[in-house]
C-alpha cells in the first residue's frame, strides 16, 4: 500500500477473478476457470503454493471465508440452479443453503452466523439472509428498485 506497486500473482490465460483474503492474511482465494469450469482456488502468498478447494459441481464462484477461516461461502450451481453454499475446509463437506434458482453475491456476517445474499422476488432484486446452518431464512424487503451486491460492515461501537 505504501509503495502503490502492483505485483501480479496469478498467471496464464485462464480467467482469474473475485479474489479475497483469508482472515489470517496469509493466503487469498479466487475464482478461476483454469480447470475448464469456474472453481475456487487458494494461493499461499508466502510459498506461492496453489491449491484447488472445490471439486463438487461444475460452477463454484464468488467465494469468501467465514471469519474463523474454517469454511468458505460461495455461489454454486446445483441441478441448473445457482445457490449459496458453504464448504467446510477440513472435511470438504458442502452444505447448500438456499433452494431457488438465481442467487448471488453472498457475504458472511462478522460474527460468522448469517449470510446476506442477493436474490430476486417477483422480478425485483432483493436481499435475503440465511443462517450458516441453513435453518433460518428471511428476505429483506426493498422499498423500490433493485438491490444487489450486499456487504456487511465490520463490528462498530
Amino acid at each position: 500500500m505504501a509503495t502503490k506497486k502492483l505485483q501480479q500473482i496469478t498467471y496464464g490465460y485462464s480467467l482469474d477473478t473475485e479474489p479475497g483474503f483469508a482472515p489470517d492474511g496469509k493466503s487469498i482465494i479466487f475464482t478461476s476457470d483454469r480447470g475448464g469450469s469456474p472453481q475456487i482456488y487458494q494461493l499461499d502468498l508466502q510459498s506461492e503454493k496453489l491449491q484447488r478447494l472445490t471439486y463438487q459441481g461444475d460452477y463454484n464462484a464468488r467465494a469468501s471465508f467465514t471469519p474463523d477461516g474454517n469454511s468458505i461461502v460461495m455461489l454454486t450451481r446445483d441441478n441448473g440452479a445457482f445457490n449459496i453454499a458453504m464448504q467446510d475446509l477440513a472435511s470438504n463437506q458442502i452444505n447448500i443453503l438456499t433452494q431457488s434458482s438465481i442467487n448471488k453475491s453472498p457475504s458472511v456476517s462478522p460474527n460468522g452466523k448469517m449470510i446476506v445474499y442477493a436474490t430476486s422476488k417477483d422480478g425485483q432484486g432483493v436481499l435475503a439472509e440465511v443462517s450458516v446452518d441453513g435453518r433460518i431464512k428471511l428476505i429483506l424487503p426493498a422499498a423500490e428498485g433493485d438491490v444487489q451486491e450486499p456487504a456487511w460492515s465490520p463490528f462498530l461501537n
Binding site: 473475485e18 475464482t31 469456474p38 464468488r62 448471488k104
Partner: protein
C-alpha cells in the same frame, strides 16, 4: 414426418430472414438506415431458438457492414460455427475499409456470479475479435468492452431469454 415438416418451416423462416437481411445490404444507404433495426433483426434470430434446441441453428446473417449479435453457450466463449460466415463477411468489409471501426460488446445471461460474468463477457468479445484479426482486421479498428450481465436484451428467466442475452454485439462506430 412431422419433424421434417417443422424443419422445413424453420428453414423457410431462416432463409426469409437471411433474404431480408441481405436485401438491406444491396444498397449501402439502405444498410445504414436499417442499421438501427439490424441489431434487433440479429437478436430476432434468437427467436429461432424458441423452436430449435438452445444450442446452434441460429446463424447470424451475412450482412456486413451491419450491427449484429453472435450467441454463446452457457459459460462458453467459443464462437458458434454457423456464425463464422457472418463474421468473415464483417472481416472482409473491415479489411477493405481500414477507417471503419467497430465495438464488440460481450454480454452474459443473469445466472452465475456478477464479477465472473464481466470477465466472461470480455472473453466473448475477445473471441470474435480474434477471428476478425485472423482474417486481417487491424486491432486498431476494434474496441472491446464487457457489460457482463448488466445489459440484457431479453428479460425472461428461461433458456430462450438466456440464449438471447449470452451474446456479443458487433456495433459499427464508423463505417
Amino acid at each position: 414426418m412431422q419433424k421434417t415438416y417443422i424443419l422445413k418451416i424453420l428453414l423457410i423462416g431462416i432463409s426469409v430472414l437471411t433474404f431480408v437481411a441481405c436485401s438491406t445490404t444491396s444498397s449501402p444507404r439502405a444498410a445504414g438506415a436499417a442499421a438501427g433495426q439490424n441489431s434487433a433483426t440479429a437478436s430476432g434470430m434468437g427467436q429461432g431458438a424458441l423452436f430449435a434446441d438452445n444450442s446452434g441453428t441460429t446463424a447470424a446473417a451475412v450482412c456486413a457492414p451491419c450491427n449484429q449479435s453472435y450467441h454463446f453457450d452457457f459459460d462458453g466463449d467459443a464462437v458458434h460455427q454457423e456464425d463464422t460466415n457472418a463474421i468473415y463477411a464483417q472481416a472482409n468489409y473491415l479489411v477493405a475499409h481500414p477507417n471503419a471501426k467497430i465495438r464488440l460488446e460481450g454480454n452474459t445471461d443473469e445466472r452465475g456470479s456478477r464479477e465472473y460474468n464481466v470477465a466472461l463477457g470480455w472473453r466473448r468479445a475477445q473471441a470474435v475479435a480474434r477471428i476478425l484479426e485472423q482474417q486481417g482486421v487491424s486491432p486498431q479498428q476494434i474496441v472491446l468492452i464487457s457489460y457482463g450481465e448488466e445489459k440484457p436484451v431479453a428479460f425472461g428467466h428461461d433458456e430462450a431469454s438466456y440464449w438471447q442475452n449470452r451474446r456479443d454485439d458487433l456495433v459499427y462506430k464508423e463505417r
